[in-house]
């Protein structure tokens, strides 16, 4: 059994140590907002925070996050029933289309704003490298600036 903390709750899971964190979160712990997109850390749909840092959870193993604190999209807001300013900006800009990639983008943006509270376009380009097949990029950029200025 491996201990880990997800969204401030402690879990003890029986997955093998080489299991990608993504599948532990989705299938064993049961938070499905973290999405499977590519499995090779290229699309960012599975982005979560591990000890506050944005991580592509398909490409870190359970062994690597043992005892660490993980935050998923479900645990991003300060309390249940609230939204972060990032999510509010996403709603205001009507960003999502199919919506599948958006939790990953929001997690990547949360990490970006911690590093650069008022990011430039260049900083956004460099730090938010997720893939959206619906092409919501221009609204994502607007929403990031909106959240930064909220």
């Amino acid at each position: 059994m491996t201990e880990l903390t997800v969204n401030k709750k402690k879990f003890s899971v029986d997955d093998e140590g080489d299991t990608p964190l993504l599948w532990v979160i989705r299938d064993t712990v049961g938070y499905t907002g973290t999405k499977f997109g590519c499995g090779v850390a290229l699309c960012g749909a599975c982005t979560v925070h591990v000890n506050g840092e944005a991580v592509r959870s398909c490409s870190v193993t359970l062994d690597q996050v043992k005892g660490k604190s993980i935050t998923t999209i479900e645990g991003l807001p300060p309390a249940d029933g609230h939204l972060t300013k990032i999510q509010e900006a996403w709603i205001a800009e009507e960003v999502p289309q199919c919506g599948y990639c958006q939790p990953g983008f929001i997690m990547a943006t949360a990490a970006l704003l911690k590093k650069h509270p008022k990011p430039t376009d260049a900083q956004i380009d460099e730090n938010v490298t997720n893939v959206c097949r619906c092409g919501t990029y221009s609204r994502i950029r607007k929403a990031i600036h909106r959240a930064a200025n909220a």
Binding site: W23, D27, C43, P77, L83, N130, V131, C132, G135, T136
Partner: protein
């Protein structure tokens, strides 16, 4: 860990003072439970609960295009519903919800608004008439003295009012009116307004239930590995390599694929990837080079005529100037963000399927056929779709889930890896075309002769049940976007030769238009240059009788600063294309540096989709279609090597990212024409607009896709 399907989301209700009231997206809130237990159906589309919450069924699959909002808006408009208290539901498969052009429950062909624009408004008007009738009876006043607003009926003379919720029971007993009058467009308060989407709140919280999120009691997980060479099957599976892995594992030989079933998805995935499998059959000599050679050889075969006007052949012999060119487009994968997946539970007496599907109607039929169960024993739940783009109109992945569940006797969730998703997609057909254009002495376009050699979607997909084209007629998908162009070219012939290969082909956003728009609008640009004319000026006389096309062209030129000075190394290109009843023109501005680094800076897009329902969605779909088409134009290419797909994942089938996404301006033409499609028409013009801009910037004409083939980097 309850499954949250897409039917379980309540609308976000904005509350004064900021924030959102979060009774959204939780499947079993008190409000929803009460609505479900006590609401009264009025016709097939509307349920009204005593608390005046109104549920409206959205009969199309939500894959990002916004139909869960735009279709209920049509009902709500005529019903005079209080939109803030509308709940959107996904119906079960029933012919009542058939998409009119398809005669089944299916989403595709940019047909949602076109198909449902009348029926859903009529449903709303009919229910409104029944509610008014109930109030008239209750108050003993003539119905024409009553008015409705925001889910209330009013009798102003006696200062009486009643909620729809209080009238629903009585209204449901009134026979629906045979004829209803629809509101004049001046009276619309919902249609044509940027109504916020009903699914946004759930989607930004990670609470929207996609197919991959389904969890049902007793469910196990399946991972799959298809036989890599098209047409090959599995000869044997050696499971020695997985002996040391933690199980349980159940290995299935499905002939065209090996499957491992386990209690965790990753256990299944790791095992299926480790199996030693030998294959038999298939043509391992098939390659992209061979396919291209076969297509080119097809140019000399007897074609079928798609369109012919005047005498193109004869005119070309006497034309002042003749230009010839060959264009090529590769196979493309759809690469939806959510890889293919499906959950199925088959028992001796029932079959239940949870699928991110564009085609729940055909899926229900397939499930009945596969299981031998009567239609009444089949239940299809359509989840949110993590992208569709045509891919999820196919049923291959759902058929596999049904087959696996039947084999193991348990509910199972099948999830494909990204590699399986890329390699075993059903692809946008490759296409080769040769064109000849003729100019008269004044530089007018007087002849156009074009032959297209490509696989046929219709012949390759008999499972769809569409009739194949007769021998003397083309598959319209092969030539759409060329044969039906509206330019007045006096001598015009488009014909086609069919060449099918073992590579499976399918609908891809905008279908034949996706490559044919590139061919036609690029060659039109070549002809303009050959005539020594500006690309907009050259098109004007050809569109003299097509007022809407001409208007879109002029508006796009204006929006895209056509003709204005440009920085060094920059160029602009324009393309105009009608598809799915909608006309779109795009102006691209690009720059290319000395190292052939290509940057698309800006795209101006003008769309005439006639009457539109939700302008915010129209804008989003244009942005979406342009980025989707830009990814294909820049990078998109599926190649075949040794009988199998050479690409694997996003590292060799790359996508446009935020950093490369151009600035996009979208303008919607205001008119009162019939609605056109919106999901696809933004895609066809992007590749030619950018290719024409590359020519303007560099003098290099790009005649085959993707651009990276020609040494451009992004």
């Amino acid at each position: 860990m309850k499954m949250m399907d897409r039917s379980s989301f309540l609308r976000a209700t904005a509350i004064a003072g900021g924030g959102l009231l979060l009774d959204v997206s939780l499947p079993f809130t008190a409000r929803r439970a009460e609505a479900a237990m006590t609401s009264t159906p009025i016709g097939a589309w509307i349920k009204i609960s005593p608390d005046n919450t109104i549920s409206i069924y959205a009969p199309q699959s939500e894959m990002g295009q916004g139909v869960m909002t735009s279709l209920p808006m049509l009902v709500a408009e005529e019903l005079d519903a209080d939109w803030a208290r509308v709940i959107v539901d996904a119906p079960q498969v029933d012919k009542a919800y058939n998409n009119p052009p398809f005669q089944t429950m299916a989403t595709g062909g940019s047909s949602a608004i076109r198909g449902f624009f009348m029926p859903l408004r009529q449903a709303g008007a009919s229910a409104r008439a029944m509610l008014v009738g109930a109030a008239a009876t209750q108050w003993n006043v003539p119905a024409n003295e009553l008015r409705t607003a925001k889910s209330m009926v009013y009798h102003d003379a006696s200062k009486r009012s009643a909620t729809y919720g209080s009238l629903a029971g009585a209204a449901a007993t009134i026979p629906p009116p045979e004829k209803v009058e629809l509101k004049p467009r001046e009276a619309w308060t919902i249609i044509g307004k940027s109504v916020p989407r009903v699914d946004t709140s759930a989607k930004v919280q990670g609470k929207a239930g996609f197919g991959i999120d389904v969890k049902v009691p007793g469910m196990v997980y399946a991972a799959i590995r298809h036989a890599p060479v098209f047409g090959s099957t599995i000869a044997s599976i050696d499971d020695t390599p997985i002996k040391g892995f933690k199980g349980p594992h159940q290995v299935l030989n499905m002939k065209t694929a090996a499957v491992v079933v386990s209690d965790r998805y990753y256990r299944a995935k790791k095992a299926v990837e480790a199996l030693k499998i030998s294959y038999t059959g298939g043509d391992a000599t098939l390659s992209s080079a061979k396919i291209e050679t076969t297509l080119r050889a097809g140019m000399n075969e007897k074609p079928v005529i798609a369109t012919t006007v005047g005498d193109a052949d004869g005119t070309l012999k006497t034309a002042s100037k003749v230009v010839t060119a060959e264009y090529y487009a590769p196979y493309l994968a759809h690469a939806t963000m959510e890889p293919m997946n499906c959950t199925a539970s088959v028992t001796k007496t029932s079959c239940e399927v949870w699928a991110p599907s564009q085609a729940p109607g055909p899926l229900a039929g397939l499930a009945a056929k596969m299981t031998g169960l009567p239609p009444s024993a089949i239940k299809i739940h359509t989840t949110y779709l993590g992208g569709g783009f045509g891919r999820r109109f196919n049923l291959d992945f759902a058929a596999e889930a049904i087959q696996i569940s039947t084999m193991i006797g348990k509910p199972v969730k099948l999830v494909w890896s990204r590699e399986e998703d890329i390699q075993h997609d059903t692809f946008r057909p490759t296409s080769l075309t040769q064109l000849k254009g003729g100019l008269d002495a004044s530089g007018n376009l007087v002849a156009w002769q074009q032959r297209i050699v490509t696989p046929s979607l219709l012949v390759s997909n008999p499972q769809l049940g569409f009739p194949p084209p007769p021998p003397d007629k083309p598959d319209s998908f092969s030539v759409e976007g060329c044969a039906d162009k509206k330019y007045a070219i006096p001598n015009f012939t488009v014909d086609t030769v069919m060449k099918n290969f073992a590579v499976p082909v399918f609908f891809w956003r905008s279908v034949g238009n996706s490559q044919n728009g590139f061919f036609f609008e690029s060659f039109m640009d070549e002809m303009a240059h050959a005539a020594g004319k500006d690309a907009v000026e050259f098109r004007r006389p050809l569109l003299a009788k097509e007022a809407r096309h001409l208007n879109v062209l002029e508006m796009a030129a204006k929006l895209g600063d056509w003709g204005k000075p440009l920085a060094k190394g920059h160029g602009r290109g324009i393309a105009l294309h009608e598809s799915f009843g909608t006309i779109v023109a795009e102006v691209a501005e690009v720059s290319v540096d000395a190292k052939k680094k290509l940057r698309v800076h800006r795209i101006a897009c003008v769309v005439d989709c006639g009457t539109y329902v939700n302008p915010n969605t129209v804008e989003a779909q244009m942005q979406s279609a342009m980025i989707y088409g830009l990814t294909a134009a820049l990078y998109g290419e599926i190649t075949i090597d040794k009988g199998r797909v050479a690409q694997n994942n996003f590292y060799d089938y790359p996508m446009v990212h935020l950093a490369e996404a151009p600035h996009m301006d979208v303008q919607i033409v205001q008119n009162t024409e019939s609605p056109g499609g919106v999901g696809e028409p933004g895609t066809p013009p992007i590749a030619p607009a950018v290719a024409n801009a590359i020519f303007a910037a560099t003098g290099t004409r790009v005649r085959s896709l993707p651009f990276v083939r020609h040494g451009f980097t992004a």
